[in-house]
């Protein structure tokens, strides 16, 4: 190992410099070890199971290489239909959350002065209130004799309570939009906060109306926040199997449910693992796309 003087002339330090990797290793190794053992290895074992098969006569996983699970997924319309339904739901929820996040992030960042931090923390409070109970509350709100129907009938928008709000994809959509919203507001607010006020004032001084400043200054600078929030909401929806069970109708299965059910009485762990791997790829594609959009947005 060459311990000659460092080539970085800017550093006046006379200490002998180890290669960066060795200096980083003490700080890095605990996390590196942890993530490698408890995250990468599990993913590897997941992929391993995806190329095995199940034997429900002897109730064992047969540890022999086969692509049968992937073949099922490729040929069976069930997986395509459920995946499409889930992706559509995830994209819809993401777009809606983006639209909803901006007004509230704007309100907190620009209009609340000293109440700003408190208002921001209040966005986090719903995250403390149990996802399950909140989803259950939506059942109460959306049901035939629930809050929403009572209200709509009372103001004569509906003549009769509508069964469309609960046990439907609409119910799931509303619940997802609500539950993931704080995860979109957080990064969007952070992004808005980072925009130099001077930039906005300059745009105003130059005569740009509000919507123009938004489109050409605020929006591009918010893109990293939007991307971060979008990744969160997309991924959370792609992996959820709870809300469909609580609020879904007869046609509301999502990929999370199909995957989870493979680990039940069906005992087809390899198929569940294979479908998980496919979902992984879908999310990875979305990640790449989102980062592309992000890079393009900020480059403007």
């Amino acid at each position: 190992m060459d311990v000659a003087q460092p080539t970085r002339l800017a550093t006046p330090s006379s200490r002998r410099e180890l290669p960066a990797i060795l200096r980083a290793l003490p700080l890095l190794s605990p996390s590196l070890l942890w993530l490698a053992v408890f995250y990468l290895v599990p993913l590897g074992i997941l992929l391993l199971h995806s190329v095995w098969s199940t034997d429900t006569v002897n109730m064992v996983i047969v540890r022999q290489f086969t692509l049968s699970s992937y073949q099922s997924i490729a040929t069976d319309p069930l997986f395509r239909d459920v995946a499409l339904r889930t992706i559509t739901m995830a994209v819809g929820v993401t777009l809606t959350d983006i639209v909803l996040a901006f007004p509230i992030a704007y309100l907190i960042a620009f209009r609340l002065g000293r109440l700003k931090t408190l208002a921001f923390m209040l966005v986090l409070v719903p995250l403390w209130s149990s996802y399950l109970i909140r989803a259950y509350a939506w059942k109460t709100i959306l049901g035939l004799d629930g809050v929403l129907n009572s209200f709509l009938v009372a103001v004569h928008i509906l003549s009769r309570p509508s069964p469309a709000f609960l046990y439907s994809n609409l119910a799931m959509f509303i619940t997802f939009t609500h539950v993931w919203l704080p995860f979109m507001i957080l990064p969007v607010y952070t992004a808005l906060e980072k925009i130099p006020r001077s930039l906005l004032e300059a745009a105003g001084d130059l005569g740009a109306p509000g919507w123009r400043t938004f489109l050409h200054v605020v929006l591009p600078l918010s893109v990293p926040g939007i991307v971060a929030g979008a990744i969160a909401t997309f991924s959370l929806t792609m992996g959820d199997y709870i809300t469909p069970q609580l609020l879904g109708g007869p046609d509301s299965q999502l990929v999370g449910n199909v995957i989870a059910s493979q680990f039940g009485v069906t005992f087809n762990w390899p198929l569940g693992a294979a479908f998980s791997a496919v979902v992984l790829v879908i999310v990875a594609v979305f990640l790449v796309l989102a980062n592309r959009v992000g890079a393009a947005g900020t480059a403007r």
Binding site: L40, A101, L132
Partner: protein
């Protein structure tokens, strides 16, 4: 600093957006209001409008051993996971910030996976992992699952702050004769302290209410969300609303208290 005056259209536009923001707040809190209201409902069927009012569900919590045990488990797992995460995550963030080592980008990418990949995939991967190595499912496996994403949350939070802290500060301290620990304690730590705390808080929040991954990792002892999941669909009572309301109340109090404390410090 005089700003150009807003046109009436602009003023209206901004007002509308702010009003929309208020509406979003209402949307965010509507289920919470419903949730809290029903914790006082005498009947167990969540009928609207609420017929009778009572405090008995809150009293029942005190006698409900299983629910209290689950709450204790959630708090313990959360605190332990965050403790691990604060140490491991902060150290890793420091390493990534200070040193340009080969594989840095790869590690950064890997460090986003636990929060980016869908929960059901993470849950199943970890289940298969524990099953493969014959490790019993228990609160320990739950802890391992939670600590994994907590580390990543703290790491990303601290790193985001470190990026805004000039490296030269630490090097200058070193040149002035401070050893690494002194540099860390007096220079680096103060600048990241709030990031560590906010990362820890976010991580704890995520762990406390985690459902999708925890479902696959619990053994004989439930966390609070797992206990709620079981009772939500069989034998539901507003006692669940009551404990959720208590958690909201505690978190609101903590939020307001931390605000007051921060303001005093400033």
């Amino acid at each position: 600093m005089m700003q150009a005056p807003l046109s009436p259209a602009d003023r209206l536009g901004r007002g509308a957006v702010a009003a929309a923001g208020v509406l979003v707040y209402l949307f965010l809190y509507l289920p919470l209001v419903i949730l809290v209201l029903f914790s006082f409902d005498t009947s167990t069927i969540n009928g609207w409008p609420i017929a009778g009012w009572t405090l008995s569900w809150y009293q029942k919590i005190g006698l409900d051993d299983a629910l209290l045990a689950a709450l204790r488990n959630s708090l313990t797992v959360g605190l332990e996971a965050v403790s691990i995460a604060v140490v491991l995550g902060t150290l890793a963030a420091l390493a990534i910030h200070r040193y340009r080592f080969p594989g840095r980008e790869v590690f950064l990418f890997m460090a986003t996976l636990p929060i980016v990949l869908p929960g059901v995939v993470t849950g199943i991967a970890m289940l298969l992992f524990f099953h493969f190595f014959n490790i019993d499912l228990s609160l320990t496996t739950v802890l391992i699952g939670h600590a994994t994403f907590c580390i990543v949350v703290v790491l990303n939070n601290v790193l985001a702050r470190l990026v805004r802290v000039p490296k030269e500060l630490a090097e200058a301290a070193g040149d002035l004769g401070a050893n690494a620990l002194q540099t860390f304690w007096h220079v680096t730590l103060p600048s990241i302290r709030t990031a560590v705390l906010s990362g820890a808080l976010l991580a704890f929040t995520l762990s406390f209410d985690e459902v999708v991954v925890t479902f696959f990792l619990t053994g004989r002892d439930n966390t609070l969300p797992m206990e709620i999941w079981g009772r939500l669909r069989i034998g539901f009572t507003p006692e669940l609303n009551a404990i959720a309301s208590l958690v909201i109340a505690v978190s609101v109090v903590l939020v307001i208290a931390s605000q007051a404390a921060l303001r005093e410090q400033a």
